[in-house]
């Protein structure tokens, strides 16, 4: 049934407040970022128009290029490691083994703790002088392996990723809620047909929660691309900018009162974000077409 003129008016009226807020607080700031990215401006004196020079400037900066690469790594690790881990845990806990409620709470618990507190905790864990990890290595007689985990070129980024990748509770709960809605009849029928638990998970559970997994992967990739707090608090982009991310890069540009390059970096971040999200969606589209 086609909506009537009255229906359309009603829909428009309901949508208007949200649309106004969306334009005021999202679209206008984005346009503003785009405009400022074309200026040289220190935040206090008058701005001067420089066209796309800021984009070339930041692209020539090896720290920016490394930040883009790190962001892509974060997004990939989030989508390809963190989410699959979450799905695996959701599938296991969905079978309601003994103590599943306890484990669900344990895995979700870090989500309710401040990111700053977690970063401080891990900073202490990784510390080379009094950290738990090096302490343990000394305890088991492997003191020669003790290093400054966040201050060594080869270990800083993996150390950040490892700490973050195991916080799977958020995505796990999303997938679990979707799994709980899957009709039990499917599993009973599969069991009668002799399907193993793994086959049931692979051929029933996963296809049924595909939309949740897509949502989780999109969210995880977005979170990966927006990484700031953990990096800022644990390494501030160091050592030698090896763990810098795009948001941290633009934050540092703002600290340098270089608002033009900072906003150019923002625009680039938006572009990378759009590409990654469209890429994830495209992957699922290809998979859907292949199945058809």
């Amino acid at each position: 049934m086609k909506p009537t003129k009255k229906d359309r008016l009603g829909m428009a009226l309901f949508m208007t407040p949200a649309l106004v807020l969306f334009v005021l607080f999202f679209l206008i700031p984005v346009c503003y970022v785009l405009i400022v990215s074309l200026f040289q401006w220190n935040g206090m004196s008058a701005a001067s128009f420089v066209g796309v020079k800021n984009y070339f400037t930041i692209w020539k900066d090896p720290v920016f290029r490394r930040s883009v690469l790190n962001n892509v790594i974060w997004a990939l690790v989030a989508a390809c490691v963190q989410v699959p881990l979450s799905v695996l845990m959701a599938l296991i806990l969905n079978r309601k083994p003994r103590g599943w409620k306890f484990f669900r709470t344990v895995y979700f618990f870090p989500q309710v703790i401040s990111g700053i507190a977690l970063a401080m905790l891990w900073s202490a864990m990784y510390n080379s002088e009094y950290g738990l990890i090096n302490g343990f290595l000394h305890l088991i007689g492997k003191g020669e392996l003790a290093i400054n985990w966040l201050g060594t070129l080869n270990t800083a980024l993996p150390a950040l990723l490892i700490y973050w990748v195991f916080y799977i509770g958020y995505y796990m709960v999303i997938v679990m809620s979707d799994l709980s809605g899957v009709d039990r009849d499917f599993y009973e029928a599969a069991e009668i047909d002799g399907a193993s638990k793994i086959q049931q998970a692979w051929f029933i559970s996963l296809p049924m929660v595909k939309s949740s997994i897509l949502t989780c992967m999109t969210l995880a990739a977005v979170m990966g691309l927006r990484q700031f707090e953990q990096v800022y608090l644990l390494t501030n982009g160091g050592p030698a900018n090896r763990t810098s991310t795009m948001v941290l890069y633009l934050y540092k540009q703002i600290q340098n009162t270089r608002y033009g390059p900072a906003n150019a970096a923002s625009v680039m971040l938006i572009c990378v974000g759009v590409i990654v999200i469209l890429g994830i969606r495209a992957l699922f589209q290809i998979e859907r077409k292949r199945r058809k």
């Binding site: 700031p29 984005v30 405009i35 220190n42 935040g43 701005a47 201050g151 160091g238 923002s266 938006i270």
Partner: protein
């Protein structure tokens, strides 16, 4: 059509998900150039003799010296005393700001929006030339020229606050940076006196290392503060007081980087990426022997140090570099805070600003503030026997110093100072040599 709509919606969603980092105010594309802004600023009102405004003047002061800040208690007393003395004529209203970075961002944003606060302070991260470029700052020149007020200040202090012939800020808190050492740890390594040259310093560092003691607690995290101070001291020792005149092309920058890198052989294993808390912790916990910081930190030796550290710390002059252009006794320093005011169109308000700044710069108040916080000030103060010994020694050294030169971060553009921690990482981790370190700094400044 549906696909196009879906694509547009997906794009809009993605764009909003990543929208961030917009500064709070827009630079208008049609904004007038700096010169025009300066000429458009209202003429400075002339303050009448005596201060008797038509009605009570209220001055808003977003202030960082509140909460747990070491100056908070006495500064609060100063403001209360001013409000009492000037009741019915002027009133200062403090707007509490407890986070330094948030405070800087606020000031910068307000200036860019053309709404300078009545009263505010800026630290070394602001370049006065940039502030002057905003055209929003009150010019104190008419009030300070040939006045009793200007006679209060140390030589050169007002000149530092002058941009294009206008005094746009009142120098308030200053600092000189001495070297402090743990006498007990040095004695254990066989030293009763602090070395006078860098060669002797490294010999002593070897002895300390043999004892399992961290000779120099250093850091490359945050703003690499303690490392930056050492770099400043070494630069002065090698290049002399004029080292910053030729910028980073002076070979002293490379030589000083080599010395600094060597110091990292005698630091803690967590120095790369460490912040100020780590450095301070090593010294306060009797793990490190030699330390440098500003005078504000001195009271903490006694308050927070273990094993009665406060009685075991002594002041020393920075070592001399054999063959360097520096003079023994020369020190690195800084103006830690300037007092500024927004351009005032109302003569009464301008007069109130001047009255308040004169009031809080009275030596009797500053003595009290110095005692409570350990801070030093741009106003000339006699030596105070109530101060702790290391502070008295520092003041004596400052008074007899052949020169006091602003530290590296103050002497360089903001971008170079901010690039120092990452460049230091590269140097310490061996991915660049001393020349590469200086090249990284140069690149940051371009």
């Amino acid at each position: 059509m549906k696909k196009i709509l879906a694509l547009i919606l997906a794009l809009a969603l993605a764009v909003t998900a990543f929208a961030c980092a917009a500064p709070a105010a827009a630079p208008a594309a049609t904004e007038a150039p700096v010169e025009a802004a300066a000429t458009e600023a209202p003429a400075e009102p002339v303050v009448e003799e005596g201060f008797n405004p038509a009605s009570e003047v209220t001055l808003n002061f977003p202030c960082i010296w509140v909460g747990t800040d070491s100056k908070a208690a006495v500064f609060g007393e100063m403001v209360t005393a001013f409000n009492t003395e000037y009741a019915g004529r002027a009133k200062v209203v403090i707007e509490e700001q407890t986070d330094y970075q948030a405070y800087r961002d606020k000031i910068r944003t307000m200036l860019s929006a053309g709404q300078a606060p009545d009263l505010f302070s800026v630290d070394g991260t602001f370049k006065l030339a940039d502030l002057a470029g905003s055209g929003k700052l009150m010019d104190f020149t008419p009030y300070l020229t040939d006045s009793d007020w200007s006679a209060l200040y140390n030589d050169g202090a007002l000149a530092d606050a002058t941009v294009d012939g206008k005094i746009i800020a009142i120098p308030f808190e200053s600092a000189v940076f001495g070297i402090y050492y743990n006498t007990e740890l040095l004695a254990n390594a066989g030293y009763t006196e602090f070395p006078k040259t860098y060669d002797e310093l490294f010999t002593m560092a070897d002895a300390l290392k043999a004892q399992g003691v961290i000779a120099f607690p250093l850091m490359t995290g945050e703003n690499a503060w303690s490392s930056m101070l050492w770099y400043s001291q070494i630069l002065l020792a090698i290049g002399g007081p004029d080292v910053y005149k030729n910028g980073l092309d002076d070979p002293a920058f490379v030589q000083a980087a080599e010395v600094l890198k060597k110091m990292f052989d005698y630091t803690s294993s967590d120095a790369v990426g460490a912040g100020a808390a780590v450095v301070n912790g090593h010294f306060l916990n009797f793990e490190a022997a030699v330390y440098t910081n500003g005078p504000w930190f001195l009271p903490r030796f006694a308050k927070e140090g273990i094993n009665d550290l406060g009685t075991k710390v002594k002041f020393a002059l920075p070592p001399e570099y054999v063959g360097g252009k520096g003079t023994y006794g020369g020190l690195a320093g800084t103006v830690q805070a300037y007092l500024c005011a927004g351009v005032q169109t109302d003569a009464d308000k301008a007069a109130a600003v001047v009255e308040f700044y004169k009031f809080i710069n009275q030596p009797e108040w500053l003595y009290k503030l110095a005692e409570s916080s350990g801070a030093m000030f741009a106003v000339k103060l006699e030596s105070n026997t109530n101060d702790i010994q290391v502070k008295q020694d520092l003041l004596a050294a400052a008074n007899s110093a052949p020169y006091i030169v602003k530290h590296f971060n103050d002497s360089m553009p903001t971008a170079i100072g901010n690039a120092l921690p990452a460049a230091l990482d590269e140097l310490v981790l061996g991915t660049v040599d001393a020349q590469g370190f200086v090249d990284l700094l140069k690149a940051a400044g371009q």
